[in-house]
Structures are given as C-alpha cells and as structure tokens.
C-alpha cells in the first residue's frame, strides 16, 4: 500500500488545500494520471499519482487544508488492505485542528524539527543527507542510541531491498507520522494552559479575505454618501406590507423596497450596472442581477436575484426571503451565488448609519445602506423630525467618474424619496 502525501511545492509552503479529487475511492489509477487538484498559497496544481493501483482511501475531501507531507490517500493493489493504525493517526492529527476552529495556543510555537532531536554523529547525518534518508526512522546502535554512520548505511541497504519508494515517500513512513503525532499532542496540551486564542485563517474566511483585499487594493474606491428622507417609502411600505404578506407570506422590509428601487435605478444607469470583462473590457449589463449581502453563520454570502428588474415588489420580497433563508442554512446553490452585476449591502439592522462598502469585484459599484433614523431636519424653514436613511455608493474610479456615480445615486434617491416615481418607471 502506497501513501499519497500532500505535496510540498515551495520552500515556505506549510499546507495545501484540496480543491477536487479526480478519482473516487475504489477507482483505479495509473502512474502519472492526475489524482487531485491542490491549491497552495500561490497556485493550483494537479497532483499526479506516483504509482499504479486502486485509490483505496481518501483521507480528506475537497476544501480540506492539509499540512504538507501528510498522508492524504492510499493507493494499492486490489488485494491490499489499508494500514489502519497509521491511517487513523494521520486522520486524527490533521483533522483535529480544523474541527476546533478556535484553539488555545502557547506563546511560542515549537519549531524544532524532529530530526534535530535525533542523536546522530556528523558522519551519520552526512550519510543520511547523501542518501535522502530521515534519521528519525533509524535505530542508533551507538552510546545512548546515537545513530552512527554504519546504522544509516545498514538502514539504507534494507530499504533498498524492500522497496523502491522515492525519498520523498520515505519521509512519510508511518513511524515518522507517529512521531509527528506525539509532538502534536504535546503542543495541544501546552495550548490548554494559556489563555490566548488562535483562530485558523482558512477556508471561506480566507477566500473572503483574499477577494476583499484584491478589490480594495486594485480598485480605486470612492464612496459617495447621501442622506435621504424616506418618510414616503416607509409610509408606502406600511400600506403594502399586508398586501405582500397576503400574496407571498413574506414581510415586506424597507431593505426590499431599497432593492426594488435599486434594480430600477440601475436599468437607467447601465454604466453602473457593469462588471469587468477583462483587463480592458467593461461589460454593461441590460439585466440587473442584484446581489444582496447576507451575514451567514459561515461568513459573508452574496446571493444574487437574477433579472431583479423584472420582479414585482412582492416577487423581490419572496425571492430575497428565500435566498436569505438558504444562505443561513448553507443551502444556496452555486448558481445563486454567481453572475451578480451590482451588490447592495445593508447594515441598517445593526444601527449603522454610514460606511464605506468594498466593491464586490468584478462589479464596479456597491451600495451600502444604513439604518433609517429619525432626525431633526429643516423643511420649509421649520425643524421637523424625519426618518433619514444614508445611502453609500462605493464605485471603481477606473470605470466611473464621480458625476456618473452621483447621477445614479440621484436616480435612486429620487425613487426612495418619492416612491410614486417607481410606478412611473415601471411603465416607462
């Protein structure tokens, strides 16, 4: 039975993420055939099988992040059985960490390699280097079990006679795994005694982070802020609420009103309803595929209401309600997450008045919606109290100029301040 290990493709690489398996358990594999796709910190790469055989066991699935050189699968002949102990070992060691998203940690990570603790003479070390053998596997016969040169030579000779595995495969002999487990266990014990916590930065959090950083660093963001009086929209919502509820069973929210208004405002501003096609191409979309940011338990998700401009207010309400529910239950289809042309992010429910949203690239603009808050405003020379809502439009200044973005914001504001216009635009 041969081990498949997470490849180490760069000096500094510590883990790799399995993107997909090309083979299922039980399928036969030929040497040189792609077995799985791995994402390192730099690249995605196909990992080929070293050997012919049957993929007996996959220890990890797509999405799992695995330390380099850890065993991730077993390939062997039809009649071979899995080496149970070592299999369990590597599964425990590597799965433990992702399972506890938050673990205690010592102030200093123990960077000692197992090899540095091995007692060996310089000659033994030199010989082991020459032969590409890990000293960790060798039993020393010198004083206090010190490994001597002849121990390395003897070990190398037995290795040659019993297998033809490559040096890199030898590094992950079960014995060494055993060693790694012991070290891991010790570390975990140490972790429990201190109070600082470490949250692994990986998976969805990491992807969100990468995308945010990419967008923030690449697109020159300008955010326009406009406070509007939404008395009429709120009044309209109150009137429509029972109707929508009767028709769809969903509660019409102010956010839904904003989404509806945004979808229609965007139809008049195709330059804002746009995405980067390539480095020198902007695609202006006729259809509004409106993304709405949802704070799901596993992180930020942006499900998309496709062709939002074609929905009635009740239809939008129904659609948003379902998408939010699916997002929170982790049931969104990949389709529902793709193809957005513009995004609305509403933080009003948290009492946020204004903020600078980061563009959901490759889109070119995003609308941040704040809370509707009653404020004193001056109207016809009198101070009156009005529900005020802040609209925050971040746009990619490479694509749009301030005036273009402001004109879109103007259209949107007009609709929300005088929602009757919506009826007009609907028939336009």
């Amino acid at each position: 039975m041969k081990e498949v290990t997470m490849p180490k493709l760069a000096m500094t690489q510590e883990t790799g993420t399995i993107l997909q398996w090309y083979k299922n358990e039980g399928e036969s594999v030929e040497a040189g055939e792609p077995l799985l796709e791995v994402m390192t910190n730099k690249i995605n790469i196909d990992v080929e099988s070293y050997v012919d055989g049957i993929l007996h066991k996959r220890l990890f699935e797509a999405g799992d992040e695995v330390p380099v050189l850890d065993v991730i699968a077993y390939i062997g002949g039809a009649d071979e059985s899995l080496p149970d102990p070592s299999m369990n070992v590597s599964r425990e060691t590597t799965l433990n960490e992702p399972a506890d998203a938050v673990t205690n940690q010592t102030s200093l990570d123990n960077k000692d390699e197992p090899q540095s603790r091995v007692r060996a003479t310089p000659a033994a070390r030199a010989e082991a280097r020459k032969l590409g053998i890990s000293l960790a596997n060798i039993q020393g016969t010198g004083p206090r079990s010190r490994i001597q040169r002849e121990d390395v030579v003897a070990y190398a000779e037995t290795r040659v006679s019993e297998s033809t595995t490559t040096p890199s495969e030898r590094r992950t002999e079960p014995q060494e795994n055993q060693k790694r487990v012991e070290i891991q266990v010790v570390r975990n014990v140490e972790r429990e005694t201190t109070s600082s916590q470490i949250v692994p930065y990986r998976g969805m959090r990491k992807i969100i982070g990468q995308r945010m950083a990419e967008s923030a660093f690449q697109a020159p963001h300008v955010t326009l802020v406009r406070e509007i009086d939404v008395s009429e929209t709120i009044a309209l919502r109150s009137r429509l609420l029972p109707i929508v509820e009767r028709q769809t069973g969903t509660k019409l929210s102010l956010n839904t009103m904003v989404l509806f208004a945004t979808a229609h405002a965007l139809t008049k501003h195709p330059n804002v309803n746009a995405t980067w096609g390539s480095a020198d191409e902007i695609v202006q979309h006729d259809e509004v595929h409106l993304g709405t940011a949802v704070a799901a338990p596993q992180g930020l998700l942006v499900p998309v209401i496709h062709s939002a401009q074609s929905f009635s207010l009740a239809g939008i309400s129904e659609r948003v309600s379902r998408l939010v529910q699916d997002a929170r239950n982790g049931k969104l289809s990949p389709d529902a997450l793709q193809g957005g042309t513009f995004t609305v992010s509403n933080l009003g429910m948290f009492g946020i008045e204004a903020f600078n949203p980061i563009i959901n690239s490759p889109q070119v603009a995003i609308l941040g919606v704040g809370a509707s808050i009653e404020k004193p405003v001056v109207q016809d020379g009198n101070v009156v109290v009005r529900p005020m809502l802040t609209l925050n439009l971040s746009f990619d200044h490479r694509v749009l100029d301030g005036a273009e973005a402001a004109m879109f914001l103007q259209t949107l504001a007009d609709i929300l301040v005088h929602p009757d216009e919506l009826l007009v635009s609907l028939h336009a």
Binding site: T121, P122, A123, A124, R125, A126, T141, P143, Q148, R149
Partner: protein
C-alpha cells in the same frame, strides 16, 4: 643501516652541522666536560673546543639573552636548557625578544636560534623537572615548536631547526634518549611542518606527540589483535602543524583521538582537536573527538604516581576501545 639512540642522533646532527658551519655553536649548563645532564653533548668539547661548546652559569635568562644576541650578530646558536622546565626563567627572552624581533624590525633582523629542551616525566625527577610545557611556547607567534618522537626524526628535524632563520624550540623527551632507530650516517633534513603517519589504519586516527607516539604504536599493536585498525600520526612539529595530513586521515577513518603527555587542560591536543572539528573532516566524524592528556596535577616523584599522572599504553587502548564501542 646502523641503529643509534635518540641521544646519539641529536649529538650527531649537531656535530655534523658544526663541522660544516662555523657559525653554529652550542651553549648551556654543564654541556662541556660533563657532556650535558643527559649526555647529549658528551665528547663534543673535545672535538669543537670550549669556544663552540660553551659552558654557562646557571642562569637561563642569561643563556637565552646571550644566544639571542649572538644570533642577531649572525651566529647560529644552539642553546640547551638542562631541563625544559627552566624555560620559565628564560621566558621573557624567548617570548618577548626571540619570537618578536624579526617582526618588530620589519624582517631586517633574524634570530636563527635553536633551544634544545629535555622534557617530560618518567625519570623520577619530580614536579620541577618533569613537565611538558610545549603548549605555552606553541601559543606564541614567532616561535616554532618541534617534538621528535624517534632518533631518525630527531636528527633530520634538528638539522632543519638549525637551518631555520627563526627561533625553534626543540623538545627532546628524556625517556626517548635511550631509544634506538635506524639513522643514516649522512646529514639529512626533515622539513618542519610535515607530519608522519607512523602506522596506517582504517578505524580511528590517533594523533600522538613525542613519547606518546611510541606508546600509541604499542597500543595500536594490542588493538590490532582485537581487529581495531589504528592510524597513528605524529605531527612532529606543533608549529608549523601539518593539519592536512590529520584531516585527510580523519576523513578516511571517521574517528579521532589525540594523546599527549602534557596536562590535558589547555594542552596542544586541544588545539589539534579543535582544528579537526572545524575542518571538512567534521562531516566524517562518527564519534566524539577524544583527548587523552596528563592528569591535572604536578608530576609526582613516586614512580607509581608518576606513571599514573600521564597516559600509558593501557589508557590509550581503553580510550580507543571506547571510541570503537567495543570496550
């Protein structure tokens, strides 16, 4: 070839050089009619006369000072310290004058001086007459230090020492004086700075100096019966040191020990051990480097204690067996 003793070999070298070169003369305590404390200069005053075989007062600083002065005037003096222990009295002359004059005068002055010094224990002469202080002088830049281990080397090395234009300390081990070897009658030189492999071997490199060479060869003979093959290297000169021969040997054998009679602490063997550890031989070491040296006590007069104070054949055998893990 005829066999002569170490003592005869030293005398022969001096005599043959003196016959060829009028500038060479010897000076020291009781070296004339008495023939020296160990008989090395016996008969020389008859051949060369009191001018060239000069008896001196018991004043080592004065002997050294006079010798250095003579050397600076173009003579090539050989001074004998009756016991090498008395070098302490001549230390200022040797360390602060002889060793530095060439450097301090920009090479315009030379001190072609040989200091012969009987060293080592084994004669019951007690703590003030039995020391091995070669490391003290090897530490001083400008001094060369020679330790011949047999009659053949003694003659050839002494010739080179006399020919050298710089001060050379020539240590003769008292117990070696009576040992014999094949020695050519004609004058010959052995270059300073050339080690000699006294016995070839494959399992462990043993560097030994002076009388420890003889003891190491005896130990190697015993170990060979156990199937342990010891390579015995005699550096012959501590300064200059032929480290290459030693390093090459360690690369072949993978194990290294050094044995010297001087007190182990701070001894010259420590220097050789460090040089090996620093060298490319490091990667070939398959056991820790071992030093055998004298115990950290003044040499006792009691013969049994005296014997125990310095490494003996059985100590070397045991040390090598330990290195080979066969003890």
């Amino acid at each position: 070839m005829r066999e002569i003793t170490y003592q005869e070999a030293v005398r022969e070298a001096m005599s043959q050089v003196m016959r060829e070169d009028d500038r060479v003369f010897i000076l020291g305590e009781d070296i004339g009619v008495y023939g020296g404390a160990f008989g090395v200069t016996r008969g020389m005053i008859e051949e060369f006369g009191p001018e060239r075989v000069r008896n001196t007062p018991i004043a080592e600083a004065g002997i050294a000072g006079a010798a250095i002065g003579a050397a600076l005037t173009g003579m090539r003096p050989i001074m004998e310290l009756q016991f090498s222990d008395f070098v302490t009295i001549a230390m200022d002359q040797l360390v602060n004058q002889a060793a530095k004059i060439c450097y301090m005068y920009g090479g315009k002055a030379a001190v072609p001086l040989v200091v012969r010094a009987p060293a080592g224990s084994g004669t019951g002469a007690a703590a003030q007459h039995s020391q091995s202080l070669e490391a003290w002088l090897a530490h001083v830049p400008g001094l060369k230090v020679v330790q011949p281990s047999n009659a053949y080397d003694a003659k050839g090395l002494l010739k080179s020492a006399i020919d050298d234009n710089n001060p050379v300390i020539f240590y003769e081990h008292k117990l070696l004086y009576s040992t014999k070897a094949d020695v050519p009658e004609e004058l010959y030189s052995i270059p300073l700075g050339k080690a000699d492999i006294k016995r070839s071997g494959t399992d462990v490199t043993l560097v030994a100096t002076s009388i420890m060479v003889q003891k190491s060869l005896a130990a190697a003979e015993i170990l060979a019966k156990d199937g342990i093959s010891v390579e015995v290297i005699d550096p012959r000169t501590l300064v200059p040191l032929d480290i290459k021969t030693i390093v090459d040997s360690v690369k072949r054998t993978g194990r290294f020990a050094v044995v010297y009679e001087a007190v182990k602490r701070g001894g010259y063997g420590a220097e050789i051990a460090s040089l090996v550890a620093e060298s490319e031989a490091f990667d070939f070491l398959d056991a820790p480097i071992v030093r055998l040296g004298g115990k950290e006590v003044p040499i006792p007069q009691n013969p049994e204690l005296e014997r125990n104070a310095v490494p003996q054949v059985e100590d070397i055998v045991e040390a090598i067996r330990n290195i080979m893990r066969k003890a």
